[in-house]
Each structure stands twice: as C-alpha cells, then as structure tokens.
Symmetry: C3
Subunit: 652 residues, 3 copies
C-alpha cells in the first residue's frame, strides 16, 4: 500500500446482513479503500466453546471485497467471550488493591495468564487458517489497544509466578537480585525467588528497582502475548502485514520492544479526547477545545513511525465527538479532514476513521461515526470524502522527509520517574514533548528515536532529556555524534538497576562532559526561579559541578544551560519560555534553517509536499517559503481547521 | 388528621422511664400532637433471639397517650441487632469494591437478602400484633430512610442471584437480554442467565443497559422489602396509615414505585445540611448558609406530595445544627418556624421535629433537639411552640392549591445520566430543579409529576426536561395536551433499553415535533456559549434537524429554543439566566399570571392562604397581591427567616 | 551525656567494610560523637531463621569505638526479614479496607500480633546479650518511628481479638460497655464481647466511643510492644538509656504513655518535608519553602522534652533535600546549622544528622546525607562541622530554662476531634500550635504538658484548648492554679466515654467558671465572623450561658473571650490575628515580660544563653535584651538562616 489511503472501522456483526452491501458501496463511493473488522467479534466467531462460526465473516469480507475494499482482520482477543471466563476463572486480572476484575466490558484478561495466551493463539490460528487466503484480506490487527483501561499491570497469582520466573532468568541467583535491588536498604533481602511478591499493597514504597523490574516484566508479557499471534499470522501469510493499534501518551509497556513483532505500527488518534484527558492546563484545554493539542498527534505520528520501522497507520481516527472524556465537544468543522492530512504529512499509509456508523447500543453509543445511527451522513462523512478526493487530485505521495532534529523517547524513563518523581509532576515524556513543540514552532521536522539508537549521524540536533539510564548503544552514538546534542535534566542519573551511578549523573564518558550533578533542588508546582534573559525553571533544578561553560544561568546565579563543545546540558525543567529559548539557542548554534509559522499553524514535509495545518480557531496567513514552488491545495490564507499544501521546488 | 399538626421524634429507650411523663407533658404543652417512636429500638424489643419485650414500649405509648399524643410506631428494621448478624452473616451488604460491610452503625442489611426480609416481616408482625390496638397508635413508619448511606446497591451473592432471577423474569430468554443490552458490542454475549454478574469491579464501563437494569432491580428490592411490611401492617389495621420517611435529592430507588405501598409519604428535611452536602456553588452555599436552599425543601414537598398520592408529612424537621455535614451552622433565628410553615404551605399534614432532646451519647450527639441534653429548651423549642400557636390562631387548614405548572421528575432518568452523563455534571434532577426555581421566582405553584402521568389536562405549562425515555402513558398525555409544553434537552433520547431510538430523539410521534437531534456537543464546566438576548448554554448543546421555528439561538447561530405550535424544545443546558428566560417566555406565551417577589422570598397557596417565607438574610417588603384580602400573620414587612400569611379574597 | 553533642545515622551494612575506618575517622574529625546504627539490619543480623550473625556489627562498633564514637544500637524490629513473614503470615497488618499489607518496604507488622512481639523480644535479647558490654555502646534505640506510614492501626483478626480482650478487661461486663458506648442509640447493643468488631468497613460512622476505644487500644499496643524491648534492654544494662525516635505532628498513639518505657525521647526532624506535608496554607508553605515552619520544630522539641521526662535528642536531623514529600527543596544555606542550634537551645542532648552518606540504592536514594553518594561532602557536612566547633568555642551547656508559659497537649483530644470534628478541620493540635506560635512571637519559652499534669504552679499562664475531657489530675491542678488560665473552645466538652457531660461543657467544678456551653455553630472554611477590635472567629463558635465577664465579642454581639477571675474561656476557633490578640491580652493581664523579635526570628533560653535563629529569608536586626550581657556567637545582624547566641547577664 504505497499511496496514502483512507480506511474505516466496521462491525458487520452489529448490523443486519441486509445492510452490508449498501454500506460497502457507500464506503467505496466515499473513497475508502481499507476496512478493519472483527476485533470485538469473538462471541460471534465462537458462540460456545469450539463452536466456530466464520461463515458470516467470510460473507462480510466477500461483500467488502466486491467493492475493492481491502480488509484488515482483527484478532478478537481483547474481548474473550463470557464462557472463556468459566473455562479460565483466573484469567481475569487483579488490580493493585487486590480485587479480581470481572467480565462485562473488555480487556478482561491477564497478560501473564498462559492458559488464556494459548486460547488467544488458538483463535488466531483459526482465523489465519480460515481467512488467510481470502482475496479481500489486506492484513491483520492483533488484539486492540494493548493496555487500555490500565490492563498492562495485574497483581494476580499468575503475574506473581511469572514475575518470579522472569527474575530467576534475569538474575540467576537471589544474591544477584538482592545486590541489584539494594534490598539491604531496609532488610528486604530475599533468600529465594519464591519469596518475591508483587510491589502492591505495601506499607510504603517498594524498592524502586523492584518496581522497575515489575514494569519491565509486565511490558514483556504484552510483547510476548503479541508475538504469539504475530508468529501464527506471519507463518500463514508472510506477505501480509501484521499491525497493532497503539494509543496516545500511553507508556505502560515498551512499544519499541513490542514493535519487533509487528510489521506496521498504527495508533488510535482522538485529538480532542486526548487533550481533555491530559494533564495540560485548563487554559490550553480551552484554547484547543475543538481541535486537540496542536503537537500531540504529530508527536505520536513521529513516534509510531519509528515503532513501525518507518511504516505506520492511523487505525482509528476521531470523526466527531467521542464518548469517553468528561466532556466531548464537537470538533471544529474541518478537523476530521485536518487530522487526516496531518497524519499523511507525517507518513501515514492509511488513515482509518472510527467508525463507519454510530452504534445506537452498547458502551460507545455516544461516539460519533461517519454515519449517524440513522445512517444519514454525519459531518465527518463529507470531510473524509474531501480528503479522498484531494489526495487523488494533487497526486499526494512520497516518503516523509528525514528530519534534521531528533529526540530520544524512552519508556523505561517514563516508568522511572513515575516510580520516583522526586518532584510531583516530573516526567520523561513531558520533557520530550515540550522540546518537540518548541522545535516544531519553527517548522522543523522531528524524528523520535529509541534509547537503543546506535547512530545519530545525519541529525543536526539531537536532544535526550530526562533519560533514566544510558544504553550501551546510545552511549556509543553520543560519543560519535558530531552534531549538537542537548541532554538533561536528570539524563543518565541512574544505572539500569535504578541506582545512582558511582560517579553521579549524567554518567557520560570522560571528555564529553566533565561535570557531575551533585544536588537536586525539587520544587512544588507554582514556585519558579527566573532565568536571566527570560524564562524560568520549575520543578527541578540541579547543581552541576565541573568545568563546562555556562550559557544560561538563573537569577540566583545557578547555571541552567552549560556546554562543552557541541554538547549542551540543561540542569533544570523549564517553563515553555525557557524551553523555547534553549531550543532557539541550539538552532542558532547548529545553523539549522527554520520557517516562520503563524500561531496555531504547524507543518511537515512528505515527498515533494509541505503540508500546513491550522489548529488555531481563526484564519491565519502563510508566507511562501523559499523552497516552495507554490500551493497545490489551499493557499496562503488558511482558515481555522484549514489545510494548505505547498509543492517544494526541490525534492527533500 | 386533617388539620396541620406538629410532631416530634422521641426515643423513650434513650432515657430513664422516670423522665417519660414529664417529657410527654411538655410535648403536649408545646402544642405537639404526634410522636414517632421505635424505629431504632430492635435491640430493646428483642434483646436476644425470640426474647420479645414490648412492655416498655407499651408503657411509653401509655404515657404519650395520656397526654393526647398520637404515636407513630416505626418498624425497627433499619437497625437489626447484633445477634441477627450471627444468624444471617450474609445479610450484610457488599460495596462496589467487593467489601462486606460490617455491624456497628445502621442500615447494615442487604435488600436482596430474603432471610433478612423474613426477619423484618417477623418483627413487623410482632409489633402489629402487640401494638395494633393501642389507643395511642396513630400510624406506622416502615424502616427508616431507605437507601441512606448508599445502601440501595449491594454487590453481594444475594444481589447477584436475585438479579439473575429478575432478569430471567424480565427477558424470558437470554437472547432477548443480549438483544436488549446490545451485548454484541464488545463480545459480551451471554449463553445463560447464570453467567450474568453485577456491573462492579469491571475493567471499564459495563453496557449501559446492564447498569440500568441493575438499578431497576435494586430499586425494586427496596419496594419489595417495604411491601412486606406494608401488607402486614395494613392487614392488622386497615384504617391506620403506613408511612415511610424519604430523603433529599436521593434518587437511587424509584419513590413513585415504592409509594404504591405507603399511604402517606414523608421526608426528613434538613435544609442546612442538605445544602452543605449538595453540589451547589460555594457562593450559593455561603448565601444560604443558615437557611438552606430556598427552593430545595419546597421541591421535595411537592415531589413527596405526589409520591404520597396527595398525603405527606415532614417526619424529621431540622430544629437547629445537625452533625453530619462537613460543617453544621446554626440556623438563623426563626428558620425552625419558617421551615415548618413552608411545609404546611405545600400541604404537609404533620411537621415532626427531629428530635425531642439532644442525645449526649452515640453518633448523633452533636445533633440539636428541641431540648438540650440537659433538658433545657434549645432555640428550636420556642419556635415550634410559636408555630403551634399560630396554626390555631389563624385557623390554618385547607388543601394545597392545584398548580398551573407541572414538571415531570423521573428516577430512571436520574440513573440514566449518572450512567452516561456524556458531559460530566449532566443530570436529570438538576434540570428539573432549575426549572422549578425559575417558575417559583414568579410566585407560581408547581406540581411534580411521575413519568407515568397519563393526563396533563388542567396545567397551563408542563416541562419534561432531560427525560431518558417516554413511557406509553406520557407519550399519550403529551399528544393530548393542549397547554404549553417544554421538552429537552436530551428528552426522549433513549429507548427503555438505553439505546438511541431508530429515528433519533426526541422520539415523539409525527406531527408533534418534526425534528430530530442529530449531534451532541458536550462541554466541560467553565465553557459557555452566549445566547443572543441573554443567558448562555453550558455542558450540553444539541444540533436539531427539521422544521420547527427558532425562538432563541446562540451567538454561533445554533438554535437553542425551537417551537412547533405550543410545543417547545430546548436544545441545551442553560445557565440560570437562560433557564429563567425560557421560563419567562413560556409564562408569557401561556399568559400565566405571576407575582413579583422580593429576592429570597418564596410563597405557596394552601386553602384560602398564601404563605410567604423569607429565605434572605435581611428584611424584605411584600406587596399585597390582587387576590389577597390582607395579612393574617405577619405583614408586608417580612424579616429574615420571617413568615407572612395572607388570606385570599377568593378560594383558589 | 551532659554536654550537647552531634551525632549521625550510619549503616555499615550498606557499605564495604573497607570504607568503615575512613568513615569513622571523618566523623570524629567533623566533631561527631554519637553514631546510631543497626535499626534496619535484621536481614544481616539473622539472614535465615536462627542463623544469628553479629560479628560484622561488633566489628563496626569496634571501628567506631576506636574513634571515640559512642554507638546507639537500634533494635531492627521495624524491618523484620522476609523469612519472618513465612513464619508468621498473619503478622502483616490489615488496612481499613480489609487488605492485608505485604512485604517489600518496612514496618510490615501488626502491633497486636503476639507472635511477632515475641520475635521482637527474641532479637532484642540477642542484641542485648551480644552487644551489651561493648565499650562503644552508648545506648539503645527501640524499633524506628513507631506508627510511620499509618501503621498504628490494623484491622486484622489479631487486632480484633486483642481489642475484645482489652475491652473485657476495661469494662468487665458487656452491660458496662453498652452503657459507656451508648449502644442503645442505634440498636447497637452487644450481648457479649465476642460480638464486637473493629470500627472499619461500616455502613456509616461507628459510635464515637467505639472509635475512641479502638484508638486507645491501638495506642496501648504500641506502648506494650515497646515495653517488651525496654525491659530486656534495661535488664541487661540499667545504666544505658533506651531511646525511641518519634515523628512530627504524629498523634496516632499516646507518646506520654509510651514515654513511660523510654529514658530519652528523640524525634526525627525534617522541617522542610514536614511543612510540605502539613495542612498549612500554600502561602505559608511558599514563605518557608527552604526553612520549614518556624515554630513546628520548636514545638516538638518542647513536646518531646516532656515525653522524655526532660531528656531528649534529635535522632534524625534533615541535612539537605529529602525524598518523601511531593517536592523536596534544597534548604537555605545554613539551615542544617540553624536546626541543630535551635534543638540544642530547647535542651537537646544530641542532634544526630540523617544520614552519613546518601545511599545510591533503595527507597531513599534521593535523600541527602552529610556526604554525597560519591563520598564528597554535601553542603550539610560543613554546617555540621561548624556547629561542632561553635558548641565548643562558646562552651555551650546548661539546662533549658523553665518556661513561664505552658500548654496542655493531649493525644486523646487529637483522636476525639478526628473522630468527631463537627466542623471539618477542627482539631486539638492545631489549637495548641496556634497558641504556641503566638506566645513564641514574643520570645517566650513554652512548656508542653500532658493532660495528666497534677500541678501547674510556677507558670504564669497556662492554656488548655480543645481538650476532650478532664483528667482528675488536671481538674485538680486547674482548681489549685493561681496563674492565668485560658481554656476553650470545646475544652471539657466530653466525658471520658465520649459523651456530653450532664451539665454540659466546659464541665469544670462550680466556682471556677459558672457557665456552660449550650450551642455549637460550626462553619465551613472560608466563612469568618469578625471580632470587635480585630481578628475573626472561624470553624467553631460556641454560645455560652452564665455569668462570666465578656472580654471580647464578635460583631454579632456573641461573646468570644469571657473571664471569671483569672480563668479565661475562649468560645471560638480564631484566625491568627484573634489568637494573637487573646495571647497578647493574657500576657498583659499576667504582666509577663516579653521580647520584641523581628519577623521570622525565634529564640529560646538554655543555661546562660539565649539562642536566636532566623527563619526569614532575609537578614534581620536584633536588639540586645535587658537581660543579655552581649553576643557570644554572631551578632545583632542575623542573616537568613543565621544563628546568634547571647549570654545572659544572670542565670535564668
Ligand atoms: Zn478492597
Ligand atoms: Zn481504548
Ligand atoms: Zn518515617
């Protein structure tokens, strides 16, 4: 699937079979080319144990195929049927308070439960066998939104047993574990792996290394669960892609690791709901109430492009109001188009709207679709159709531009600072996203890199903020990097076992940064220390000892940004203004060319196109950039929720 | 009991028998005519299993009777004694987190537990047999405050088993249930009723129809529990009323349905505590800190008048500071009088103060009585005495006026929007109460009607806001109504099975409102959209499609109030100003005569009297209304917490 | 140990034995004389059941002793090793929700579990036997921070059984208990002690007397647990002190009662963390962000001086940022010195910093030490050294001055108002601390007295605010006191069984205060009533009936401060201004001499010295007081975080 295409999520089991044909015809007419089905249909595929009924699904695929729609079949493992729970009562996960969670919604399974893992393999094999040669089949989706509703972690006997085994494999001897976890600290030393429990329902905090290992273990169970399905599906049809649909700001498992067992990453983009549920300020939420955060979707596009080894989709695209935030505003007219365009700009192969028709029953009956429950077009319908036409009209294609800027984003670092924030609100991801937004304000494309990146060459600027611990690869990459590098705060402040490194952070090799972090001053929300020249530090301030040159300091004379050659160390968490200043400084140092964008406007280059999108709620005016030959869609005037596409005068 | 009378709640078991005579004498002297006793006395009535001791109670009734006090005997089933829990360990309810609740306070029983239901029947029969012919007996109270402290819902095995049976009776086949609940949505289909669990401890939301049916089931258990006692008590003394005492803003069971098994509704009115525990704004709470909300008690008077088929009491009237809110301010001097007068104005037969003497021990030792713990009069004592004198002095009597305005209030709609608010804070009851207050500002009497109302004739204006689903009766009543009718927002937006109707809301028959609601824009608190001409929409905005005339629209041009003949549809939740504008518009359209009331003053007509009460904290000035012959109590100047009664020049 | 000395907390088990010698040498060089060890070392002292290994500890003591360091050995009972939990699975406490708490942090034991109590005795005996004659041994610490992390209360079967037995011993007959608890109130009467459960997981509130007795019981288990160790340690070495380290604003057990089984009280002072976790206002927290509350440490110094019968230490002194508050700011430079000086001023014998070296692993790896993890000096290191030098330099010594002011602080009153605040936020301790701060603003020394104080002579002013119930001793002491006495609000408002006294509060003997409290007006946060002349009442207002003279009244004419001779009764909770006015009035009445202190400066007299400390963040200017001969450390100009010591011209 080389050319960008639209898709839609469809649930034939929700509608009378008599409606399928008309639905398929309208999809095709609208310009849809991909249809995802099946991911919640287990109770229809196997109504009672071993009574497998795939006939209806094959008929649904027949209908869709007749209209040249490619079908992505989801394995239904996110919603095991009720009889499964009778078969495996202990497959239900246990929450941190020790309560067994019940049947009656979805994702009611424990990733550590090997019995259920085998059932998941069984149904996957059944689908692979029966549908693998269907001509409409375009690929597979494994499960649905791994981890959604807090399901990565379970505190069950199955998880406990699995964790013990995993620890035995990891450490070999209990002495090695005791050393790694620092259990001598509070007499927490174990005599055997059988004594180790999960880190919940404790009197106070568990050892951070204990917590971190439990998160690593849990993350690996998700990967292992997925890999079982991946292997089955690939064995059956090596040529078809296996996809999973990830989420926004969800970090409970390591997506890079899981990405080793998928061919294409996809994610479910609900910009308005995601902003509503985020920890952004009320002012920011009000400003982008009907648009969503102007950088959050883009960040995830870039993240999942990396997770998918360069291939990625939007599997579920918000088409209108959703149902699951505290309030669910109607998007600005045009946003369903804008979001799709922005995804394509960042390299999406497919943008698939969720869902074809609003369901009048069930938990998501207030979630809009492209069609209303009465089958009339909802506002998103026309916007989707417009996107389909525009893609064709301008011959949109090409690979996303290689960025000059890269940011390292690391799941373990997210876990680390959740376990030990030291200042409430200190996190890894928000440091990464703040830098992302600051670079993007200048029209710069950004890549997101994993912490195992071994080579940074080709980038002009790389930033590695708030990284818990260096991997060997990244340590090497940093040592060999000849661009401008920004690290800190808190980068390299721990070993892999969640201890302070012997020579303290940032724990880089000698010669790179001859300095160490000797003291942390952590601050509550609302307390800021101004930086000379503008901006302020907040939450986190480090004292650095050593020789680097001071680039910025705060009004108390404490160094904030220091440098040694092209390596910059930021000692503090900054407010927006400070982060922007630091980014601007780096851009100037690296002599990276930038664009001047109106407020609320963002852009990205793909192939020979630069796509502009306007998240502001008012019209903005663009200036043709030196490398642009002219506009091929829209123009210099870009309305609220508008899209303008420029053609570049040279290939990127 | 045709003439309004005062009562009091008395606990002879709390005091030495030697004090009873003097207490009774003082009650009679104060003007009290009704005394409720016994509702928490089971451990004294049956100290050990089957050791029944009613002698002391009979002696207490003898004493009270000698002073011409009528006794209401409460069945003690809200406080089963400790030994009962040994007999039926599983009678204790289980909370939503799965924790069995213990003995040591009150209401420690599960409505679904049939063993305890039989015990309740047994003690009721014992009381009926032994006390049924006592000359002082004036009636019965069943249990006490059903549902208080979150006790309507239990997640016990008993509840689960009862629910399954109830579902089987309701649906007949599991297929019918699957269809009704839309379980296909997430593969939640059941193979048998035995597989159905209660909707707690799930991974995410249950199907809304599952939740709603559990609420219906739980509500019916409360009714069934009450009916057992009702049948026993009526069999023994068909002539005496059976009463239950309900609460404020409490909607966990359907009071209309329970009302089928009582003769008189009563409720426990604690205006200051109720305001403190409500979700009103801090400003509103500060303004009415020592008075309580100026419309809340009145609303419940009107609601329970309907629940009681026209007969209703205040069983517990706040006499001073209570003990159960976060802070418990002293009422303004006069409020204990005002509250009683307002209750009588709305048709109360009896207003009974809680309690005679403040208890120095136990959970409510900080709750004021008419007497202090040292038996000296508390401030409420004199106020109660004043009310008694005034009632006699002006010969107060008569039926409450038939209102020109009616509002439909529906318990299922409360449940529905708690289950699926879509905008946090969206509820049924607050829409009803906002309209109630807006009508009352004009001195209009209001009736509250159940959703099963089959005839609306006689009313000039009827409002049905935020109703989940039409009943057949109400659908018919609306079709035949020739007054002005206001519906919406969200009225008729669901079927009885909590699905979106095939033709969308408001789901009225053709010809009434040729329009449908096609889209919901829900908003967080703090975001408002101004309406042209004044007021604003908030939380909830609908897009309406179809032909009605636009009466009001917002600044974005979205219709807010539309009309088709005398049927008006409100598409949004409004702020106070908008609700008042809509009400004012309807009043003008309907040509309903109004009064002009000073701020904080409210009024109601009963018999030949119009009673004014002043909730403001400063004196206000009344104007004699055209239909008033003059003041018979107080005058045009009405002090803070004051009461003025006008005699009407014509019967209402 | 008569001369003030510095100490440090050291964990030899955390470091290679090769480091011990250098550590000890540096400690001695810095001026440290006391080292606490061992309190979390059980897993090293007894790695598997009965495999006792004290050799390393003896070697550590040898090393320390060689450098003239006195060793305080902590019993390791706060951290039983993992194998202990296998031996006694039910030794783990149960939280109020009924969840058994697990192993993996610390304090994972139930004070009611007699099996674990025996294990604690066993390890204590082992340590006493093996180390009792070590020449470096200077004393013992029992356990660590009893009750930390909410561990005083457990809702386990062990606690339930212990509670039943305790009640049987206390009441003798179940009838006596029923009478004391007022169980007739809601039919809660018990037939036997075996029926009584713990007051958790109830439908609503337990009887307050039930709650209070459970708190008393739980408090006594802590004392009993401690006494077991105390008796063993004293039997072995009657000459050496047994110490426990208490906490800040921690009141879940009665420290006076536990103090009967210790020789020296100590506490763990973390001023910045304590302020961060307190309920002080955000403004106050911001003002003292890097200093801690200027009165909180001093209050606890004075409290624990009383708990320790005049002997007390700081066992853990904050040396830099801690790790356990939401944010953990760096102290102002100088605070580690100031805090030590202030402790010595209040009579501390030893101030022991926590900890020697920051641990790079485990739960507290972000907690600063005197050394950094890389063994370089942290900022606190030099400050500690400076204190050691200064103590010697000025020959600091002497007993803390006997104060002219005393405040009664009572643990049962803390429990009482937590159980029954009546106004959310009403507490005992905050009344005591508000008065403490108001007296201290005038440079007055204050003693803290237990509620069992039998003699108040020698004090000019005594205040007893918000006392639940009089003890016989205190009743007597008050009757005989000839100084100025302030009581109220709520003082003497209950009997020992948590009932309202028959003649109402304040329940003093006739002739002392011929008045009673007849009504409570409790108010939510944010509502205040101004007092004529300044200040305001808040939360709590009483109506008083009787003859005393009115000293202050509010703008509504309600008496606020009344007097009868030298007895003053305060009827309300006041804001800071009112509390200060009341204190100022009493000081004037009692003719107590005062000092004028700059904002943020506090002082205390010990021996011939008056020590000034400056909590302000800017320099302040002192005035030499009439009784001062001159400054022996610092001078009239006192920097932020500065210390000035004056020598008195006469002994106090
Ligand atoms: Zn639980
Ligand atoms: Zn999801
Ligand atoms: Zn602690």
């Amino acid at each position: 699937m080389t050319n960008p295409a639209l898709g839609v999520c469809y649930y034939p089991e929700h509608w009378p079979e008599a409606m399928w044909e008309a639905d398929a015809a309208r999809m095709a007419e609208l310009g849809i080319r991909v249809v995802r089905i099946g991911e919640f249909a287990w109770s229809r595929l196997e109504p009672t144990p071993s009574d497998v009924r795939l006939d209806w699904m094959i008929r649904a695929m027949d209908v869709l195929g007749r209209h040249d729609l490619q079908v992505i079949v989801g394995t239904p493992t996110a919603t095991p049927p009720r009889w499964m729970v009778d078969k495996h009562p202990d497959m239900l996960a246990v929450d941190a308070q020790g309560h067994r969670k019940g049947f009656g919604s979805r994702r009611h399974y424990d990733f550590s439960h090997l019995g259920y893992r085998a059932e998941a393999a069984r149904i996957t094999q059944i689908l692979a066998d029966a549908l693998g040669d269907h001509p409409a089949l375009g690929g597979w989706q494994t499960d649905n939104e791994y981890g959604c509703h807090g399901t990565t972690y379970s505190y069950s006997p199955a998880a406990r047993d699995g964790f013990r085994l995993w620890l035995r494999n990891r450490y070999g001897t209990i002495g090695a574990l005791n050393a790694a976890w620092g259990t001598v600290f509070w007499s927490m030393e174990y005599n055997s792996f059988e004594q180790i429990d999960l880190p919940n329902l404790l009197v106070c905090d568990a050892a951070p290394a204990h917590e971190l290992d439990f998160r690593r273990y849990s993350s690996e169970q998700v990967s292992a669960f997925n890999k079982v399905q991946y292997d089955i599906l690939k064995a059956r049809r090596p040529d078809l892609p296996v996809i999973h649909n990830f989420m926004s700001r969800y970090s409970e498992f390591d997506h890079y690791r899981l990405g080793e067992s998928i061919d294409i990453a996809s994610w479910d983009s609900y910009p308005i709901g995601h902003l509503a549920k985020s920890d952004e300020t009320p002012e920011h939420k009000a400003q982008y109430l009907r648009q969503g955060d102007p950088d959050n979707a883009a960040f995830h596009h870039d993240l999942y492009r990396t997770v998918g080894h360069g291939r990625w989709w939007i599997m579920e695209q918000q088409p209108g109001p959703v149902n699951w935030a505290d309030a669910n505003p109607d998007p600005l007219p045009g946003m369903a188009r804008l979001w799709a365009w922005e995804a394509f700009a960042h390299g999406a192969e497919v943008v698939s709207y969720f869902r074809w028709r609003q369901a009048p029953f069930g938990q998501e009956q207030m979630h809009a679709g492209l069609l209303r429950p009465d089958s009339e077009p909802a506002p998103g319908y026309a916007e989707a159709g417009q996107v389909a036409q525009e893609l064709t009209q301008i011959g949109f294609a090409g690979a996303p531009a290689r960025a000059r800027i890269a940011l390292v984003y690391d799941y373990e670092s997210e876990w680390a600072w959740e376990i030990q924030p030291q200042a409430a609100g200190f996190g890894h991801g928000n440091h990464v996203r703040a830098l992302y937004a600051a670079f993007r304000k200048h029209g710069l494309d950004v890549d997101v890199l994993p912490p195992t990146t071994a080579d940074l060459s080709g980038y002009q600027i790389v930033a590695i903020p708030a990284l818990m611990a260096w991997t060997d690869e990244l340590r090497e990459a940093v040592a060999n990097f000849d661009g401008h590098l920004l690290i800190g705060p808190r980068t390299g402040s721990k070993t892999a076992h969640f201890a302070i490194p012997p020579q303290l952070g940032p724990d880089l090799g000698a010669g790179l940064l001859d300095a160490r972090i000797t003291r942390i001053d952590s601050l509550p929300e609302g307390i800021e220390v101004a930086v000379k020249g503008g901006g302020a530090t907040r939450l986190w301030r480090e004292r650095i000892e050593g020789g680097p040159e001071v680039v910025m300091e705060d009004v108390e004379g404490v160094p904030v940004l220091v440098s040694q050659g092209k390596l910059f160390y930021l000692t503090a968490s900054g407010d927006k203004a400070l982060v922007q200043r630091v980014v601007d400084y780096l851009i100037a140092e690296a002599d990276t060319p930038t664009l001047t964008l109106p407020a609320g406007v963002r852009c990205r280059v793909r192939g020979d196109f630069r796509i502009y999108v306007n998240y502001a709620s008012s019209e903005q005016r663009l200036t043709l950039a030196p490398d642009e030959a002219g506009y091929v869609l829209g123009g210099a005037s870009i309305a609220a929720a508008g899209v303008t596409v420029a053609r570049l005068s040279r290939a990127d």
